[in-house]
Symmetry: C2
Subunit: 348 residues, 2 copies
């Protein structure tokens, strides 16, 4: 098959490996932010962020070349992050056909203007031309998958979701290898909620790590702060399950790949954890954002969206005040600029 | 109050800190295996395994002095590990009064002779004299709590369970401090299943870490194996939820402190993880046990118990073959001596 990946960041590009190993032809299209990456790919076949040479059968394209890149493809991969979902909908819209499949790696959530919680496939769909809106098939990938490990052909387990389960199965077949293990589900809502929230809760786990650093690290008898970290991790999982219930999703997603799996991998490191550490060490969100200038802080973005949803007069999420104490704490720190002192007694 | 802790290992002893900070008098009784510890405590007030001086108001006792140690105590803490539960029932039995509260730190599970899954409070109860069996109140502590961190007064969140919720609340009040946060529940079955299984699944997480070491660690582009680790972690949580359902427990324990919380902390290190690493690096269980000689391998013990339950003709656990693929894999490795090659495609 011929497949276009739009967005040449870490995750979008990493999906080239299983596709290439399955002998597909891949058109890797950089966004307007990926110019340097595409230049490097064109000149040296080398992806500077992944620090790897691209596999066979990958052809890089600048964003200006998108029309020819999309021509005749069997399906499209959206490789943008959660801040790029409106853009990807707009940019793809003119080139779509009826029945076109689009599978997204994007993990996030968005609040509508009136405070409704929206999953990202719905956001993408809203940016398509009205005539095409209900004629394309949207799918999403969730689960614990660090891009650099997938590109290194290391064992990875994910879930492909689409309300059209045949499409999810079709896409899974295109990607499945002996290192990229894929399960399918039609419960797109539950997947998106789980993987969207995990960045925010990974930020909270990062705060536990930052608290340890702030208090001088290991103590005289060798004690770290795994107990605190684990409690925050567990509270994050508990809150994911509560939001799933509140939107009519399936709480069992919490203890599978999209919930605990994805949170586990995100809590191991990365920008969300780094941001959490800075906040725990006493920096305000404004200061932390300045320190991390140039990085996309998806975790903070999700907290901001949840703040809008939780403060909305009429929402689509049946949740009471106090049911998400960790998220409310994150909102206090990120949105209201309060200091990062967690009250654990509000948990569970 | 006056409180006896029987078992002067890491966790039993660590509970002295919150009790002491709440101004209780603590009688710390070593088992027959704790002779050196009690000698050190008596002579230098120093616990050699915790690497800390005991807090105020702790009086150490040898096992031979148990009668005077238990005299007039308000409640008893059982600090033994899962291999000591029969012993603790027998040793305490003569000294118990009607309404006596016993709270255990022990995490484990046991198969009865005919293959029924038993939680440890039931095992302890079965060792008491028939006249006292239904007259004592058993409680248990679960959740992510590394003993050295609790003794270092680092933030820890746990759950106290007893079918007698007033007793759980009474005990929680005795222990609760500004660093030891306690929730209570009457669902003892769900707590015991969750915290009992987590050692076995932490062993599996250790295997992922061992696989990384076996394959040479980080690759040329910096990739580790968090994806694999997270998938195994998520599968462990999924299987905990399935066992909970199968015994009529509450699957939501999976995503709270006793499930993901306890598994998270146990997966961070310790003997279960060390055993998993050795197995993944190619050692048979027999070899690994030899290398770890002298260590209590509770994780392996739980896998052996689950093997008996899953192969029993008539069991109390309504589960089908294939529903616990990770546990079945652990049984293959630990009980049947097979090599540690996980088939991820059997998961979820």
């Amino acid at each position: 098959m011929k497949i276009a990946i739009v967005g040449a960041g870490l995750m979008g590009t990493a999906l080239s490996w299983p596709l290439s190993d399955n002998h597909h032809e891949i058109h890797l299209v950089g966004t307007h932010l990926d110019g340097d990456i595409i230049t490097s790919c064109k000149e040296h076949n080398y992806h500077p962020k992944l620090k790897r040479y691209l596999p066979e059968r990958v052809k890089p394209y600048f964003i200006g070349e998108i029309e020819s890149a999309l021509k005749g493809v069997d399906f499209i991969v959206s490789g943008v992050n959660s801040l790029g979902v409106h853009w990807i909908g707009k940019i793809l819209s003119p080139y779509l056909n009826e029945g076109q499949k689009i599978i997204a790696v994007t993990k996030g959530l968005e609040a509508s203007a009136d405070g409704k919680l929206r999953i990202l496939p719905d956001v993408v769909r809203s940016e398509l031309s009205p005539s095409m809106r209900d004629k394309v098939i949207l799918a999403a990938i969730g689960g614990p998958c660090i891009a650099g490990e997938l590109a290194g052909r290391r064992q990875s387990c994910v879930i492909f979701c689409s309300q059209n389960i045949e499409a999810a199965d079709f896409l899974a077949k295109a990607f499945r290898t002996d290192y990229y293990h894929i399960w399918t589900s039609s419960n797109l809502l539950s997947l998106e909620i789980s993987v969207g929230l995990k960045n925010a809760y990974a930020l909270a786990v990062g705060m536990a790590k930052g608290t340890l650093e702030k208090e001088g690290g290991v103590d005289e008898a060798g004690a770290l702060m795994y107990n605190l970290t684990a409690a925050i991790f567990a509270q994050g999982c508990t809150e994911i399950s509560r939001v799933l219930k509140a939107v009519g999703g399936d709480p069992s997603f919490t203890y599978g790949l999209p919930g605990v799996g994805d949170l586990f991998v995100t809590s191991a490191g990365g920008r969300s954890v780094t941001l959490g550490k800075l906040l725990a060490k006493g920096h305000s969100f404004t200061e932390a954002r300045e320190i991390l200038k140039g990085e996309t802080l998806e975790a903070a973005y999700i907290v901001q969206q949840m703040a809008k949803v939780l403060s909305a007069k009429r929402t689509n999420m049946a949740i009471n005040k106090g049911e998400l104490p960790l998220m409310e704490f994150l909102i206090d720190v990120i949105v209201k600029g309060k200091p990062a002192n967690i009250n654990l007694d509000l948990f569970f």
